[in-house]
């Protein structure tokens, strides 16, 4: 009976959310009748609000597009230093996380719906007894103040997130004496040695690196990047030189570099290169590397102008309060956010011991299932708060929409625990604002999305001291546990967009893939998709293996975020195991089991087959004119005459040198253009729907190269002349246009597309969930079954810009396509053929893909230019 009640309640809530979204879900404070229409809100015209998305206490400033009160698209905030106008794929997918039907919708006590009063009572008891609050790492001054008050009242507080900045702070503590935060600035870097660093997903660093690697004609120098890592990362793809080593080898490599390279000629050359660069050389390390490595790296970068130190931005980061608590004698436990029962299996056992446990979260995940009371939390797009960016910049967070399921914020829970009178979140923030930032008015800060000049100051006297570090010894098979680039620690695992986003190097979707090198796989008799058992003492997990050429020998990389056992339907779908079961283990035993699963890998052949695809060369070759890309650019003989053209001539240029393969563009495209999710089976069948994909090849030298591939908008488009019903035609502006309503679905256009960038709705792939539908972009048609679709150059944005220009009688403001806007490195340049694109297209390394097909693509490429160290061959 109770389950029936629950489902009926949910149904009503969903129906309400769907039908009344436009009015009932707007923030209560801002709601106004349309009779007195607010000037910023015109039906049919999108409005944009600055806010921030927070991960592990650090804010990324974003601008959110809203249509009639419902957020539909996240863009980076150019005024926010953590974003610079760009986003990662994770931010792009946030809208789908907001409209997730699996989100917690009711307060429950042991699975049964409960009133808020039950929470109030529990917290009132907690106020008197021994209470512990476990939070996600935070940088919010509001929450920090509340934590101070709680501690004064005798409540203990700790913070937990598995992949927060922990190792770097600990490493810095070794050489600097205290856990300071490393601040890397590559603006002036000439030589960068990255030890397992992940620059592609670090937006400011990715942009700085790209700016240092702009190739015009090969005459001006560009920064050189060395990547020494275990698993093939997107940074490794960008790097000029890459070396794959066991995780423990990293520290030995760093030690060797410190000693001038030792007897390894490769390392010696790197060390000489670093030395030549002087203070413009820098060594960085990835966050998942151990503290010892960070201590070594700090020493290596000691004289570099690219590295500075500041106090940690996250509250109490690097201190013991960022470890999981013991819970000994705790009566009431509040878990406010996170999913510690999943990210720390050891903690899960302790969790059950607490008398009363209250969980505030977005999902009925493992932790929610282990706690007595569960309270739905607010999504970042539903709440008022303030947080700091990675560099300390103060960032106000404002809601785009009233909490869809009446969620509560962390501050609300803490206030309740403290026994405060209920207070409106906006009022609280507005009241606290003058104390926080005397220099900027609250409303101005909200509009801006970031408060300038609030970055944490660098500590001038922080000089790393020489401390001898003992590097660990090599082992047979070493485990590298890493956050999934898109699912992170599993918190985004219920987001189908992210599940179906191919990881750039493996092109794997939906399932977990334990990565290992071909030689290691061969030695253990493992093939792609074989389920392997990884064990360390009494702990063991079974995960499917995926073979990655270029992965380090004797190591296995296991991404987190799989093996989810909560009630989230999407997160439970992939095949995999909880990698945190093996957290802390270094050496693992690798055995093949008899099971085999079919992995959904979006690209079957990794080889280039000696074809002129994803072209590249070295800087010196380019400078000396030896690259000879003319034959991939010059006019091809043709009988066809030019067709009449009018209006702005749109074109795109994609820079393969600066593209990191972070896949933000792919996700941005999906979010902007309502491309559907098809599921693992369909991906295996070859029916993925991404309009933009990142092609990955292993070139003749064994290196992985990438090339974003989408509709090339050919001037002599092969797809158009084979369509029997004029469903795909050419616009006078040079767009290859698709008229969905006219398409009968012969698929001839796809057959004749040499780039195979067209996507077909083999089934009714679009979402029928009323909640999911709220996130759709109303300016883009949702495609029906049996219809072909593909990249449109975001024609809806072009038309908007043209209309705006026409209404205001001015020249057109060139819009950015969704992919170009999201790109952290500005590798995608969009504009008019004769204006914005003209200069880049004249560069000597500009070329057209499959040029010999005579398609005359409007989208062209800048070849991938490497800057290898002449001392290193190969």
């Amino acid at each position: 009976m109770s389950s029936l009640k629950l489902s009926r309640r949910s149904l009503f809530k969903l129906a309400g959310a769907a039908s009344l979204a436009a009015c009932s879900s707007r923030p209560a404070r801002a709601i106004l009748p349309y009779a007195k229409q607010p000037p910023e809100l015109v039906p049919g015209i999108a409005s944009y609000y600055a806010t921030a998305l927070v991960e592990d206490g650090l804010a990324t400033g974003v601008i959110v597009e809203a249509h009639e009160g419902r957020p539909t698209k996240v863009e980076g905030n150019p005024d926010h230093p953590s974003s610079g106008g760009a986003t990662r794929a994770i931010e792009q997918a946030a809208v789908l996380g907001l409209y997730d039907p699996d989100r917690l919708q009711d307060i429950t006590e042991r699975g049964e719906p409960a009133p808020w009063q039950a929470i109030e009572r529990a917290l009132a008891i907690g106020r008197r007894g021994r209470t512990h609050v476990l939070l996600e790492p935070t940088s919010s001054p509001l929450v920090i103040e509340l934590i101070g008050r709680l501690r004064n009242a005798g409540t203990t507080v700790s913070f937990w997130s598995p992949f927060e900045k922990r190792e770097s702070l600990a490493g810095n503590a070794i050489v600097l004496g205290r856990p300071l935060q490393t601040r890397v600035d590559l603006t002036n870097a000439d030589v960068i040695v990255s030890l397992d660093g992940d620059l592609a997903f670090d937006l400011p660093r990715a942009r700085q690196l790209a700016d240092r690697r702009q190739v015009i004609d090969g005459t001006s120098p560009i920064a050189r990047l060395y990547q020494i890592e275990t698993c093939y990362s997107t940074t490794g793809i960008v790097a000029d030189h890459r070396r794959a080593v066991q995780p423990s080898e990293l520290a030995r490599t760093a030690s060797a570099l410190l000693a001038g390279g030792g007897d390894d000629p490769w390392l010696a050359a790197v060390a000489r290169d670093l030395k030549r660069a002087g203070d413009r050389g820098v060594v960085i390390a990835g966050e998942r590397a151990p503290a010892e490595l960070h201590a070594l790296v700090a020493q290596l970068s000691a004289g570099s102008r690219c590295v500075a130190y500041c106090e940690p931005v996250v509250f109490e980061a690097g201190t013991p309060s960022h470890e999981l608590p013991d819970l000994e004698g705790v009566d009431t436990l509040l878990v406010l956010g996170g999913n510690p029962a999943y990210t720390s299996p050891a903690f899960a056992a302790k969790l059950a011991a607490a008398q009363t446990s209250i969980y505030l979260g977005l999902y009925a995940n493992e932790t929610a299932q282990a706690c007595r009371f569960v309270v739905p939390a607010q999504h970042d797009l539903e709440r008022w708060d303030v947080a700091r960016g990675d560099d300390g910049t103060l960032t106000p967070i404002q809601p785009l929409i009233e909490p869809l399921f009446g969620g509560r914020s962390v501050a609300e829970m803490l206030h309740e625990l403290l026994g405060d009178r209920p207070i409106d979140a906006r009022d609280e923030l507005a009241a606290a604002w003058p104390k926080l930032v005397p220099a900027m008015r609250f409303e101005a800060a909200l509009a801006h999305g970031a408060v300038p000049n609030t970055a944490a100051p660098s500590i001038a006297d922080a000089k790393p001291s020489r401390v001898p570090i003992n590097a660990p010894a090599p082992v047979a098979i070493e485990l590298a546990l890493r956050p999934h680039p898109f699912l992170h620690d599993g918190r985004y695992s219920n987001n189908p967009w992210l599940q179906e986003l191919p990881e750039t190097v493996t092109k794997l979707v939906w399932d977990q893939g334990a990565q290992l090198s071909p030689a290691t796989a061969l030695a253990h008799g493992i093939a792609n998709g074989d389920v392997v058992e990884l064990s360390s003492f009494d702990r063991a997990i079974q995960v499917p293996a995926i073979i990655v050429p270029g992965h380090a020998e004797g190591a296995i990389t296991v991404p987190a975020g799989y093996g989810r056992k909560g009630a989230e339907r999407v997160a439970r779908e992939p095949f995999g195991a909880n990698a945190f079961e093996l957290a802390g283990a270094r050496e693992v035993r690798l055995t093949r089991t008899d099971r085999h699963i079919e992995l959904a890998v979006e690209m079957e052949s990794p080889l280039e087959h000696h074809r002129p695809v994803a072209l590249g060369g070295t800087l010196v070759e380019l400078r000396d004119g030896k690259l000879a890309l003319g034959k991939y650019r010059d006019a091809v003989p043709t009988l066809l005459t030019d067709m009449p053209r009018s209006g702005p001539q749109w074109a795109m240029q994609i820079d393969q040198t600066t593209c990191t393969g972070c896949a933000a563009c792919v996700m941005a495209c999906a979010a902007e253009n309502n491309t559907p999710v098809v599921g693992k089976d369909q991906v295996i069948r070859g029916r993925d729907m991404h309009w933009l994909r990142i092609d990955r090849y292993i070139d003749d030298g064994g290196a992985t190269v990438i090339q974003p591939m989408t509709c090339q908008h050919c001037e002599k488009a092969p797809c158009e002349y084979v369509c029997p019903v004029e469903a795909t035609t050419h616009s006078p502006e040079g767009l290859n246009e698709m008229t969905y309503n006219r398409c009968v679905g012969t698929r001839f256009c796809s057959n004749n597309c040499p780039y195979k960038v067209r996507r077909f709705n083999f089934f009714d792939f679009k979402s029928h969930d009323p909640l999911r539908q709220l996130g759709a972009n109303p300016n883009v048609t949702v495609r029906d079954r049996g219809v072909m679709e593909k990249c449109t150059y975001c024609v809806q944005r072009l038309r908007r810009a043209e209309i705006d220009a026409a209404v205001e009688h001015r020249a057109i403001t060139v819009p950015k396509t969704a992919c170009a806007q999201a790109c952290p490195t500005n590798a995608i340049i969009f504009g008019r053929l004769d204006v914005e694109i003209a200069e880049v297209r004249r560069r000597p390394h500009s070329y057209a893909e499959l040029h010999d097909q005579g398609t005359r693509p409007r989208t062209q490429y800048l070849a991938r230019i490497r800057n290898p160290n002449p001392e290193i061959i190969g």
Binding site: M603, E604, S605, P606, L607, E608, H609, H610, R611, V613, Q682, R685, G686, R687, R693, D695, R696, Y697, Q707, M709, P718, Y721, V722, C723, P724, V725, E726, R742, C743, V744, G745, T746, R747, F748, S750, N751, N752, P754, Y755, K756, R758, R759, F760, N761, F762, F763, D764, D784, R785, G786, V787, M788, E849, L850, Q853
Partner: protein
């Protein structure tokens, strides 16, 4: 039999065995329309009927759920649907070839007796073929958009695409085949009308006979019109498979973009069609005891035709390989010289070569040509080989085109296989119905031929 007599027999092998009177011929060849059918026929009718119902169910499923029920994907956006289409329409070609081209070339001796039969085969094969372009659409209910009609939005078909050409060609082919078939039938329908024992049969056949009386006034126009229609069908049959081949040759894909495609496809079509004629005629001849009108000489001539077309096909295969190498085009060379013979689907390629070019060499032997069982087995294998040829052309080219990043394997689903099986059954059902209710040997023409033979 001595060698001399065998040679003599080859020269003067009779077209009609024995000397039946006109009445006997009529009774033999028309009476099946009113006599109860054998149990074998009924059983076959039931089986093919059940298969046809399955076909209907699978078509319903495809239309309800979407084309995703088939194995198609990106890059292999065409799969079983188009393979089956090309295969079935190719089979149709032999029918028209025999009945129209041989008439125009005044080869009545070979043609008569089997022409009606092959025309029926054409018709029913085209019906099977015609289903696929419709069904394979993402939105089959909009298939009429391929035809011009004055639409509100001024939308028209896009005639640079080979698909409207195809639509026009297949529609014309089906229409002209029906016309040719029906016009040829009229005198025989009159025969049934005048001979059938029951009033209802006489009325129904009489309706379709249009009141044919066989007057000179009627024969006068009829003969010319029939010959003209045959003359029209001759270039038509060549154009249809040429246009079908343009569905591929028009595209730029390696392995598709080739100027030899039209003649290559036409030869392949006639090859597979003759194989199907043999596959059908040998059992029908046995069941209906037609040895006196469909004689060993007919089979021998068809077998020779198989040998000729097989040689053309073999030449085309060599030509394709040579052109790929001669072009120097890396995609073309990879496709033809690597992927088809040694790639993922190489097994299909070698079976195709074996069936289409190697096994047919046995037909050089007169003994094989006159051996009903051997001929039947070869014909079935040729059918298989020709299906695989279309598979190789369509699937290998699509799954291995320009960018290796887009390569993806293709595999049919159970629905694909079910629909292909279903079309066999539907074809069989139509054929059984044809054998039951329609005079399947042109009696009037046979009598004319006999009369002319005697008059010599």
């Amino acid at each position: 039999m001595t060698a001399a007599s065998a040679a003599a027999e080859e020269a003067d092998d009779p077209i009609i065995i024995g000397n039946p009177t006109d009445e006997q011929l009529s009774d033999q060849l028309l009476s099946h329309t009113w006599r109860p059918m054998s149990r074998g026929w009924k059983l076959a009718f039931l089986i093919t009927g059940a298969g046809t119902l399955m076909l209907l169910a699978l078509i319903t499923l495809t239309v309800l759920r979407g084309i995703g029920m088939w194995g198609n994907n990106i890059p292999a956006a065409w799969g079983f649907g188009i393979i089956n289409f090309v295969w079935w329409i190719g089979i149709g070609h032999a029918g028209t070839f025999i009945s129209a081209i041989l008439l125009v070339l005044e080869q009545q001796q070979v043609r008569t007796s089997i022409n009606r039969f092959t025309e029926g085969m054409t018709l029913f094969a085209v019906v099977q073929a015609g289903m696929f372009p419709l069904l394979h659409l993402g939105r089959p209910w909009f298939a009429y958009w391929l035809f011009p009609y004055p639409a509100e939005m001024d939308t028209w078909p896009q005639v640079r695409s080979a698909l409207p050409w195809d639509a026009a060609a297949v529609t014309t082919y089906l229409s002209v085949s029906i016309m040719f078939w029906y016009l040829g039938l009229v005198p025989d329908l009159a025969g049934v009308r005048d001979r059938a024992p029951t009033l209802w049969r006489r009325r129904i056949y009489g309706l379709f006979a249009l009141g044919w009386s066989g007057s000179v006034q009627q024969w006068r126009h009829y003969k010319i019109a029939y010959l003209t229609l045959a003359g029209l069908a001759t270039p038509l049959v060549i154009s249809v498979h040429s246009i079908v081949s343009l569905d591929f040759a028009e595209a730029g894909l390696p392995g598709w973009h080739s100027t030899i495609f039209p003649p290559f496809f036409v030869a392949g079509a006639i090859f597979s069609g003759f194989a199907m004629v043999v596959t059908l005629i040998i059992p029908a001849r046995r069941v209906f005891k037609l040895h006196n009108v469909i004689t060993a000489r007919h089979l021998d001539m068809i077998a020779k035709m198989l040998l000729v077309t097989s040689s053309i096909i073999a030449y085309s295969y060599i030509c394709e390989l040579f052109l790929a190498w001669w072009s120097g085009n890396r995609y073309e060379m990879f496709e033809q010289l690597h992927e088809r013979p040694f790639g993922f689907y190489a097994v299909g390629f070698w079976i195709m070569i074996t069936c289409n070019c190697v096994i047919t060499q046995a037909l050089w032997s007169r003994r094989v040509r006159r051996n009903v069982v051997a001929l039947f087995v070869i014909a079935v294998l040729v059918n298989v080989g020709m299906w695989l040829e279309r598979f190789e052309i369509i699937v290998v080219s699509l799954t291995r085109d320009f960018l290796p990043s887009s390569w993806h394997q293709y595999a049919p689903t159970w629905v694909d296989i079910g629909i292909l099986t279903g079309t066999f059954c539907f074809f069989g059902l139509l054929f059984l119905a044809f054998l039951k209710w329609i005079p399947f040997v042109p009696v009037s023409e046979l009598k004319e031929l006999k009369h002319e033979e005697l008059g010599k």
